[in-house]
């Protein structure tokens, strides 16, 4: 059980298990390459997340600067959605979406950057 005591280890164990299941499918049941690639890719993501979470865990809750409002974020989501839907509706919507996205990123970087 101690294996699961720390988050990165728990995730890595999970990734290994995924690889093992994929390997059985590949080597024992002779599956196609895609059937192996899918769990292998999932394991890859898991390992990446495990490595990212290796940074020392915070032991004390510090007073952080947290923005409690982020108007840039919904604007960014709206811009992205418009640009995507614009692929079907027309170039004009893609341009509006790109404009909104640019504006939103500007707001996020300039006004809402964590201090």
């Amino acid at each position: 059980m101690r294996l699961f005591e720390r988050a990165p280890r728990a995730m890595a164990v999970w990734g290994v298990y995924l690889i093992a299941l994929g390997a059985v499918l590949w080597f024992v049941f002779f599956a196609d390459a895609l059937s192996f690639a899918l769990p292998a890719a999932a394991a890859g993501i898991t390992f990446a997340v495990a490595v990212l979470s290796l940074r020392p865990e915070r032991r004390r809750e510090e007073l952080e600067h947290v923005t409690d409002l982020s108007p840039g974020t919904p604007l960014a989501a709206l811009g992205f959605a418009c640009a995507l839907v614009g692929l079907e509706v027309g170039e004009w919507l893609v341009l509006i979406g790109a404009g909104l996205l640019g504006l939103a990123l500007g707001i996020l970087v300039v006004r809402e950057r964590p201090g």
Partner: protein, 535 residues
């Protein structure tokens, strides 16, 4: 008793702007949940229309094309816009509280995720207003049925965009939840002391992060196929789409199950007055179950003949072991407990009972020879609704009744809660149990009509009456919420005698969650305190 005083800060944002752009995890979790519930009501309405159509042979209310749109948008909304977001919303509200954190890591990303999901829903549903109507090829949109020669019209493309947006939204929210658990746990809160519900969220978000990208890729390929052509028309192309889709499509069944199982486990421990039994076994089984569920996607493709049936039958049946452990843990927690049959506990027991039916019939269709008989029949419709309604929706109501007092500071009415519960059990079984017999008798799924000579009318009428009873039960629930919020019965910080940290703070919790945290020495810190305090 307090080991860590946590500073309070943050002014409350202006109301409307707060709704649109607020990042406090509690308000965000609540907003996510309410929008998901709105989608549940919308998809439920579509289900009622379908059931009305099927009550008798002949076409009464819709056209065949219209019916196809109804089941597609019903199923898609239930998965992409209701069940997944609702499960994640519970995590956004509760995980920081349960681990003693003051906020959600990367809350702005989670806010973005919520907006992407809402926009995805709007785009998907707007297909109904296009010339050729909404998508009509089922919630998994297999190629070649979903390519542009077979399904022309922009409604199908809107469906693809809606799915992409909601999947990206879920990935963003999941990443924030995982980062919160990894980086923001209170002092003493080791991974083996995080509460059962939070563990269920950890495995859920692991599955979202690893399986949902396959869905985004599948949708990207499908869109490219529709607009450019040739992409999925290579040898094995349609199968590639199926592999990618089901690599997402099976784990999502557990994404919309585990968080509710976690809620049920918390309710069972609280209302049995006992520490959750077999915590280490539960942790291992959740991880094993989640990884296992990512190796069973091929069982949705048994009848293609293009996959290793033996492997996928083996892994699918193997899921029984961790599932059994989880069930056993829940039952053993109740054993010799002092059980209080309050509404959350009723829904927890209902969840266990109903999900067994879905689970047992799942073993049935995990066996290739039996699946060859049942595939694409109403048997399958009954099976997956027992897992999704009997499991996820029952579990969701358990979670609502359990944590409503924490979120709002008011208790829900017990009497109305009981009426809601019994109507749900009655309606659910009346709706879906007859479908097992219809399927066994050969009634195919995804049909708007059936010949009267088949003798299926009686069971179909019964099923339609059942769906009306379910609608009534939801109405009773909404009345309960309205009454309880209007004439409030104050809940206090801990109305149930909870075990985990969220019950150690005000209801609703203050902006930074805690004024002081109790020491954390196990996954049930408040129970530890209660046991230490002389009676």
């Amino acid at each position: 008793m307090s080991v860590a005083a946590v500073p309070t800060m943050l002014r409350r944002p202006p109301r409307l702007l707060g709704i649109v752009a607020g990042t406090d995890h509690k308000s965000l979790g609540l907003r996510m949940f309410v929008t998901a519930f709105g989608f549940f009501l919308g998809a439920g309405l579509l289900a009622l229309i379908m059931r009305l159509e099927l009550a008798a042979p002949g076409m009464q209310f819709t056209s065949k094309q219209g019916y196809d749109e109804l089941f597609t948008i019903h199923g898609s909304t239930m998965f992409y816009l209701f069940a997944t977001p609702a499960a994640l919303a519970l995590g956004v509200y509760l995980v920081p509280l349960q681990i003693g954190a003051s906020s959600l890591a990367g809350a702005r990303w989670a806010l973005g995720g919520w907006w992407l999901t809402i926009l995805g829903g709007i785009v998907m549903w707007s297909g109904f207003f296009t010339a050729r109507g909404a998508a009509d090829v089922g919630w998994y949109a297999f190629d070649p049925l979903s390519d542009s020669p077979h399904t022309p019209g922009v409604g199908m493309d809107f469906w693809i965009f809606g799915v992409i947006l909601s999947a990206l939204g879920a990935i963003l929210v999941a990443a924030c939840l995982l980062a919160t658990v990894v980086r923001k746990r209170a002092p003493g809160m080791t991974m083996l002391r995080i509460p059962v519900f939070t563990w269920s969220m950890v495995v859920t978000v692991l599955m979202v992060l690893t399986a949902f990208p396959a869905l985004v890729v599948a949708m990207g390929l499908l869109y490219a196929q529709r607009s450019l052509g040739g992409v999925l028309k290579v040898p094995g192309g349609p199968l590639t789409y199926q592999h990618l889709f089901w690599f997402y499509g099976h784990p999502v069944v557990y994404v919309v199950f585990f968080p509710f199982l976690g809620a049920v486990a918390e309710a069972i421990a609280i209302f049995s007055g006992r520490r959750f039994f077999g915590y280490p076994a539960l942790v291992v089984s959740l991880l094993a179950f989640a990884a296992g569920s990512m190796s069973v996607w091929g069982h949705h493709m048994f009848t293609t003949g293009a996959i290793s049936n033996r492997y996928f039958a083996l892994t699918s049946t193997g899921l029984l072991i961790p599932a059994g452990v989880e069930y056993f843990d829940c039952l053993a927690t109740m054993w010799r407990g002092v059980i209080r049959l309050r509404t959350p506990m009723l829904f927890a027991l209902g969840f266990l009972a109903m999900f067994v039916i879905g689970g047992v019939t799942g073993i049935w269709v995990a066996s290739p020879p039996l699946d060859y008989h049942e595939t694409d029949s109403y048997f399958v419709v009954a099976h997956f609704h027992y897992t999704l309604f009997g499991g996820s929706v029952m579990g969701m109501f358990c979670a609502i009744y359990l944590w409503f007092p924490k979120v709002t500071g008011a208790l829900l009415r017990e009497g109305l809660g009981r009426v809601h519960f019994w109507l749900t059990v009655l309606g659910l079984n009346l709706t879906f149990f007859p479908m097992f017999f219809l399927g066994q008798d050969g009634m195919p799924r995804r049909v708007a009509d059936y010949p009267s000579s088949m003798g299926w009318e009686g069971l179909n009428t019964l099923s339609t009456v059942g769906s009306d009873v379910v609608a009534l039960s939801v109405l009773v629930f909404l009345v309960n919420v309205a009454v309880s919020l209007t004439v409030r019965r104050p809940a206090g910080p801990d109305p149930w005698g909870g075990h985990t940290l969220e019950w150690a703070t005000d209801s609703p919790p203050p902006p930074r969650n805690f004024r002081a945290l109790p020491p954390v020495r196990s996954y049930a810190p408040l129970l530890d305190l209660a046991e230490e305090t002389p009676a």
